[in-house]
Amino acid sequence: MKVATMTMRGCLLMLASLTVGSAGGVHAADANNPASETAVPAEPAAAPEKPKIDIRKLFATNCSWCHQDYGMKAADGPKLAGTSLTEEQVIEQISRGKSPMPGFRKTLSKEQIEALAKYIKGLKDPAN
């Protein structure tokens, strides 16, 4: 698997490339690789003053217990890539949960939830 066999250095590059501004600045990842280096910041690096969101870290520390491979694989939770939900519906589900999925509105900020929703909607299902 491509993602899994990349080097540590590559991994850090990916993390850096996916570090984005919190004010709606998160961007969709590449179709078949959520950690693709093709992603570009939506805003100049110097512009945002708010704390930046590392989307992979945010996903890994909140979502990965149930959604494997950064949302690309089904497990206890469904595969997120190619979800039929709208971005607004994804935001709603992350916020309020849908049993047995917990809601995150008390532990994540509005910006973090929006960033996760944008990331998830940017994942393309390689099967489609």
């Binding site: 698997m1 540590m8 870290k57 890994a60 520390t61 217990w65 149930c66 491979d69 917990p102």
Partner: protein, 580 residues
């Protein structure tokens, strides 16, 4: 102890009478003394592990290796809530079957017909319950003093009148300020107390408690904190990281009357996973051994005071709890042993004498097959050999995966064959560990940092097995391999039958002596709960719960495809079998 001995004698006499007449119409009085001899009472199944010996064995022999091929469905009960399947162990008292289903539902059924006698449905704090990864699991109950006892995902213990289902008391036991820890495991009755451990190894916060609650009033008698409760523990968590350290004891332990001790397995430390790598003794999120996470603790039953312990996974870097599985109490050659599986695929054989501190390891052997997180275990000391750390970054082909080489369900020990029967599972994962930021101390918020993908072991597909072995030496007598690893508990009987509830829904009876398949029946959906046997009106029954949908079960669709991808995760039943 004299008081207890006197009652014990009376209790044994009562049991003997009950055994002679099969089942009595008068309700059997179950108390702490009754359970001391539960292993001598095959008509009933009185506690989660069958008895304090935790053998999951029955002396019933009406159903045996010669006639089990004739076993048929006698009756079926479908609970009204079974999200993530039915994961509990039924208990049987005087021909009445009691069991729980998802979200704190309790059922009392006629053991011969399935007729519903009463039902109770807990009103849960849904926001708290659904704030964890473990919702809406409920893995069982305890019975005693005329009550049925159940823990809830929102941190309560509830006592119900076993004849009516009416609430006797309902107490909030586990309060986590702003957090979401609770109870999913079954409580166990010890003397006149209910003992139950909290979940939350992956949740930030002190202290992963185990409680003893007065069985008659619901008042907390004592609380043992699995992390941060004493200086030894605090010193093993650098930078006061015990305050966000997880821990707990989410499955059911046991009681050893010989030493008046509670034996309990504890959960993993948070965060899952620590990024420290080789520097874990001084660096990372939780520098040090992280006592008493991923350990066995032995407590004074009357006070909760720690008598002894053994940390099976010092600084657990893999989420290989000690909370899983059972404590099999076995005597051999004048020695008393406690045999306990660890999720990492190691069987620890402890000397049952807790005056050794830490516990004396008499033997330790690997039960897993494709492991590479360690090179092995020292049989004489129980120490891990050749750790594979998981520092920040990517790691491929780590075996076993987070799900372990064995999960939370129990094995069985048959004193007639001298064999222990246990399931095992073999798959791996690719994981990327990231540095997670600690949530507020004591918050109960999720605390982990990694993304992973389950994978097949190198060179072959994921697989599972049931192994029959000498529990003390580990010598294998026979083994049956399964395409789909069984996740449910096992039951063995005097009739030389081992019952194996399969992952694909096929319920099997194996010959306890050889592993030969004697009978099978497709229950239509996977199993990852309990199986027991009992009598009602003098007839032997076998009861098994079905349903699918735990975190571990979630791996089966990506690893195996069908039938798991289309297997519902909101269905499950109680099926009861008997001879025609």
């Amino acid at each position: 102890m004299k008081h207890w001995s006197t009652q014990l004698t009376a209790s044994v006499k009562a049991l003997s009478v009950a055994a002679l007449i099969g089942t009595s119409s008068a309700a059997m009085a179950v108390d702490g003394n009754t359970l001391l001899n539960a292993d001598k009472d095959p008509n009933n199944w009185l506690t989660y592990h069958g008895s304090y010996k935790s053998w999951h064995y029955s002396d019933l022999g009406q159903i045996n290796a010669a006639n089990v091929k004739n076993l048929k469905v006698s009756w079926v009960h479908t609970p009204s809530a079974s999200k993530r399947g039915v994961q509990s162990f039924p208990l049987a008292v005087d021909g009445v079957l009691y069991y729980t289903s998802a979200s704190g539902q309790v059922w009392a059924l006629d053991g011969a017909t399935g007729e519903v006698k009463w039902k109770y449905s807990a009103k849960l704090d849904q926001e708290r319950s659904e704030g964890t990864f473990y919702n809406p699991y409920n893995r069982g109950i305890a019975i005693g003093y005329g009550n049925v006892y159940m823990g809830t995902t929102d941190g309560r213990v509830i006592a119900l009148d076993m004849n009516t289902g009416k609430v006797v008391w309902d107490k909030m036991i586990l309060t986590v300020e702003g957090g979401n820890k609770g109870f999913t495991g079954a409580p166990v009755l010890v003397k006149d107390m209910i003992v139950i451990g909290s979940n939350g190894g992956e949740l930030s916060g002190c202290c992963g408690p185990i409680f003893a609650v007065d069985a008659k009033t619901g008042e907390v008698r004592w609380q043992f904190d699995t992390i941060g409760g004493d200086e030894r523990s605090r010193a093993s968590w650098g930078n006061d990281s015990w305050k966000t350290g997880g821990g707990g004891g989410w499955m059911t332990g046991t009681y050893d009357a010989v030493t008046n001790s509670i034996w309990w397995g504890t959960a993993n430390p948070a965060p899952d996973y620590d990024w420290a790598g080789e520097d874990w003794k001084t660096g990372g999120a939780r520098p040090g051994d992280n006592l008493y996470s991923s350990s066995v603790v032995v407590l004074n039953a009357d006070t909760g005071e720690l008598k002894s312990w053994f940390q099976e996974m010092p600084h657990d870097a893999w989420d290989f709890d000690s909370a899983v599985g059972e404590f099999m109490s076995i005597e051999r050659g004048g020695k008393r042993y406690m045999v306990h599986p660890n999720k990492g695929g190691i069987m620890f054989v402890y000397n049952a004498d807790p005056s050794h501190a830490p516990l004396k390891v008499e033997n330790a052997y690997m039960t897993g097959k494709t492991f590479n997180y360690i090179k092995g275990v020292d049989a004489k000391t129980g120490q891990l050999i050749g750790r594979r750390e998981l520092p920040e970054g990517k790691h491929t082909n780590v075996c076993p995966a987070i799900d372990g080489a064995t999960s939370w369900n129990t094995g069985s020990y048959n004193p007639n064959t001298g064999l222990m029967y246990k399931v095992g599972q073999e798959w791996c994962f690719d994981i990327e560990v990231v540095k997670s930021d600690p949530p507020p101390a004591f918050s109960g918020q999720a605390y982990f940092g990694a993304s992973w993908t389950s994978t097949h072991p190198e060179g072959r597909k994921a697989f599972g097995y049931v192994t029959a072995r000498d529990p003390i030496t580990g010598t294998i007598k026979w083994e049956k391999e399964y395409k789909y690893p069984p996740l449910a508990s096992l039951l063995s009987t005097k009739g030389n039958v081992v019952f194996v509830p399969g992952a694909n829904g096929v319920f099997e009876a194996l010959d306890a002596r050889s592993g030969a398949t004697l009978w099978s029946h497709n229950n239509g959906i996977g199993h990852h709960g309990g199986v027991i046997t009992y009598t009602a009106k003098g007839k032997q029954y076998v009861a098994v719960v079905t349903g699918w949908g735990s975190h571990v079960a979630g791996n089966y669709c990506p690893l195996f495809g069908e039938p798991f991808c289309s297997m519902p995760t909101d269905a499950g039943q109680l099926l009861v079998f008997a001879l025609p």
